[in-house]
Amino acid sequence: MIALFEILIEVCVTGGKTKKVEKARRKFLKIVSHILGGALAAGILAPLAGFLAHPLLKKTVYGTEDFIRLGSIDDFPIGIPKKMPVTSSKMDAWNIFEGLVMGSVWVIRQKDNSLQVLSTNCPHLGCGIDWGADVNKFLCPCHEGVFDIQGKVLSGPSPRSMYSFKTKIENNTVLVDYKNLI
């Protein structure tokens, strides 16, 4: 803008093309070039950035069900943890993979038929937790973590009790919300 004024004033004063006008004109062109170039780059980069950011904005890999069927309630003995594979469908970008084993859980059926479903992954560093039938405790082989049948830490380095999942029973079928750890 300033350069533009300079040109105008100079042209008014001298009435023609002088070195000074030429210089001011170039200055003006430089400024406008920067502005236009910046606008062009922004116009190009904005959609590219939006596109590239897709994995930040949307889930690209996900299980397709809220509640996954583990089995019939009668499949689970009362008071003894039973390890069950969790089978579900997985969406990986454009692909759907059906009947994939996503992981496994410990299912404990209480006397009142309520259920507790615990993650098999140790809250310490993620090792697989075993059920020690002889000691009636969950045992983590990696750093000797010990948990009781409710998943509470008894000893070892684990900072918290075992993760659990929300469950529900519909028509005698045990369903677990495998996505959300509690």
Binding site: R26, L40, L48, T64, S89, N95
Partner: protein, 605 residues
């Protein structure tokens, strides 16, 4: 602070000097709008590079994943369709600007001494550009790219002696497969860009060395009088041109809703191959070079043309650049250009007026729309084509083509001995039948039913009623249906046609539930049944040929022929809701692994 950083870098690299050197280049004769095309090409190339790199973050080159990943880019990401559109149409834009640039260079005589190598690298760059178009077309692995590229690789195969080897190397085997895509991808994103960059650097360096080629009328004195610095005088013009290019390109992409994506490549189909527009002239040329002459169109003529371009600076050695002094060369280049334009127009004109081609196009569009809908449910790892495996319409169409198309025509293709099924079951179709059963389109000479001689309105009433019997009528008019019913029941129709009792027999087909799925099924099974045509039947029964599932699919397909029917089959509409995500009850894996279907997915209410 910023200054200090700049100083520090400058002291160690001297980048400022380099920039100054690059930007202060004097433009003899002044900056001009006619010089913008070369830099416009560079701008477009950069645009292709960055859109290409971003798309490569999503693309997956294999015959089972390519289509799915492009589908994902197109339909599931936020700006993917736009970026892909820019990249797709950007290639066309480059071609157009390149042709302008090429022609301008020729008119200005800029290929003459000492700029011969400039010209030659330019021709090489043009060929590389065509290589980009050719290799990029295949990457989505859709019908269009697949079949058009088949033509191209087969053309390579016609080169004497070495052709077959080059073809196999390109395809990564004797036939199209995974390696075809990996190779085309490697060519498209590594070899061609690197080659282009290599020749571009030489091209630009030589341009810098020799400077612009001004108008032939400008005298040496005039050139010396006006000298503008490259920055900002010429750069400003280049930026404005780049903006215009991008605005047009982006506008075009919006207008077209991005680049099209056809249904996944189906090696079993007979798709009409058409290359990108800038190859159409070559394509058309081949139509005139048949049999032994094929090689003239595929190898000899193109080689001659390219050779001519390469040697042009050496045969036109006259230093004068005035076009009036170069008439013969103008004649050669212009006739080449005119020839290409004529061939292109001929090809487009032909395709626009061939109903067969138009129908096939329409079909492929419907097919593409269906593919999009089916793919939304997720594509099985078996690949893009697998989305159709259990789509009844798709199966039905195949069955129809194998069993029925010999007698029944659909959209201009097929036999003429039985009724034409274009728009089958629609009100118009039924009305046409009523009006003149002996029409070639319906029963022809074998039609024994007398034409219904009633005013147009009454005919429409009857068709409305008959169409409603199928239970598939969309937005039926109750008044019409009732009037039609009365006409049929009280008029002469009911003398020959039973209506109301499914098993009643008279001399003409029972109309109870006419054209409903059940009616069609029984009819196709045994058209000679006494409740249908009885002894006057001509159509074979399919009771033993087609099983129940095939019959259902066939009927599904027949239903889809009427314009009012949805393009995606009804099966697919019985969606099951999974977490915010829908997949079909009869999804391919559902059939392969029935226990998944059984295990407690809930039907959407």
């Amino acid at each position: 602070m910023a200054n200090q950083v700049y100083e520090w870098i400058e002291n160690r690299t001297g980048i400022g000097n380099v920039m100054k050197h690059a930007l202060d280049e004097p433009v003899h004769g002044g900056a001009r709008w006619t010089y913008v095309f070369g830099s416009g090409l560079i701008f477009l190339f950069i645009l292709q590079v960055i859109t290409g790199i971003v798309m490569a973050c999503f693309y997956s080159p294999s015959s089972t994943t390519a289509w799915g990943s492009v589908y994902y880019i197109q339909e599931k990401t936020s700006f993917g369709w736009f970026v892909r559109g820019i990249h797709h149409f950007g290639s066309s834009a480059m071609m157009i600007v390149a042709i302008i640039h090429f022609f301008q260079v020729f008119v200005y005589g800029a290929y003459k001494k000492p700029r011969e190598l400039n010209w030659i690298t330019g021709v090489i760059l043009l060929l590389i550009l065509m290589g980009f178009g050719l290799t990029g077309y295949l990457l989505p692995w859709d019908q269009k790219g697949y079949w058009a590229t088949q033509v191209a690789t087969n053309i390579i195969g016609t080169i004497p002696v070495i052709g077959e080897y080059i073809k196999v190397l390109h395809q990564g085997g004797s036939d199209y497969g995974n390696f075809t895509l990996t190779r085309f991808f490697a060519l498209h994103v590594f070899l061609l860009p690197l080659s282009l960059l290599f020749f571009l650097v030489i091209h630009v360096a030589l341009f810098r060395k020799h400077g612009v080629t001004p108008h032939w009328k400008l005298s040496k004195q005039e050139l010396r009088n006006r000298i503008d610095p490259f920055w900002p005088d010429q750069v400003f013009k280049d930026i404005v041109f780049a903006m215009i290019l991008y605005a047009i390109l982006a506008g075009w992409v919006f207008w077209n809703g991005g680049a099209e994506l056809q249904s996944p490549a189906d090696p079993a189909s007979n798709y009409l191959a058409r290359p990108e527009w800038y190859f159409l002239f070559l394509f058309q040329l081949l139509k005139y070079c048949q049999g032994n002459l094929l090689i003239v169109g595929t190898v000899i003529l193109p080689t001659l043309a390219v050779t001519f371009l390469f040697v042009l600076p050496f045969i036109d050695r006259n230093p004068l650049r005035d076009p009036s002094k170069r008439i013969p060369f103008f004649a050669v280049i212009s006739s080449g250009m005119v020839g290409a334009v004529v061939l292109t127009v001929a090809s487009i004109h032909h395709d626009k007026h061939d109903t067969h081609i138009l129908h096939q196009r329409e079909d492929s569009e419907i097919q593409a729309a269906r593919a999009m809908k089916l793919a939304a449910a997720g594509i099985s790892p078996a690949g893009g084509m697998s989305i159709f495996l259990n789509d009844p319409i798709y199966l039905g169409e195949k069955i129809f083509k194998a069993n029925c198309n010999g007698c029944h025509m659909v959209k201009g293709a097929g036999g003429e001995t039985a009724p034409d099924f274009t728009d089958f079951g629609s009100r118009q179709w039924i009305a046409g039948l009523l009006k003149n059963p002996k029409d070639k389109k319906y029963f022809g000479e074998s039609g024994t039913m007398p034409p219904v001689q009633l005013p147009e309105e009454s005919l429409l009433d009857i068709s409305e009623f008959l169409a409603s019997l199928s239970g598939k009528l969309h937005e039926g008019d109750p008044g019409r249906i009732e009037r039609g019913r009365e006409l049929v029941m009280k008029g002469q129709c009911a003398i020959c046609h039973p209506v109301g009792d499914k098993n009643a027999q008279k001399i003409a087909p029972n109309l109870t539930g006419y054209l409903s799925d059940e009616w069609l099924k029984e009819f196709i099974k045994t058209p000679a049944d006494r409740k249908f045509y009885g002894t006057r039947n001509k159509m074979p029964g399919y009771e033993d040929t087609l099983n129940d599932k095939e019959l259902d699919s066939l009927i599904e397909y027949l239903n889809s022929l009427s314009k009012k029917q949805p393009a995606v089959s009804l099966y697919k509409k019985q969606e099951r809701t999974l977490t915010g995500y829908v997949y079909s009850q009869y999804g391919s894996m559902g059939i392969l692994c029935p226990e998944i279907v059984i295990t407690g997915y809930q039907m959407r209410p």
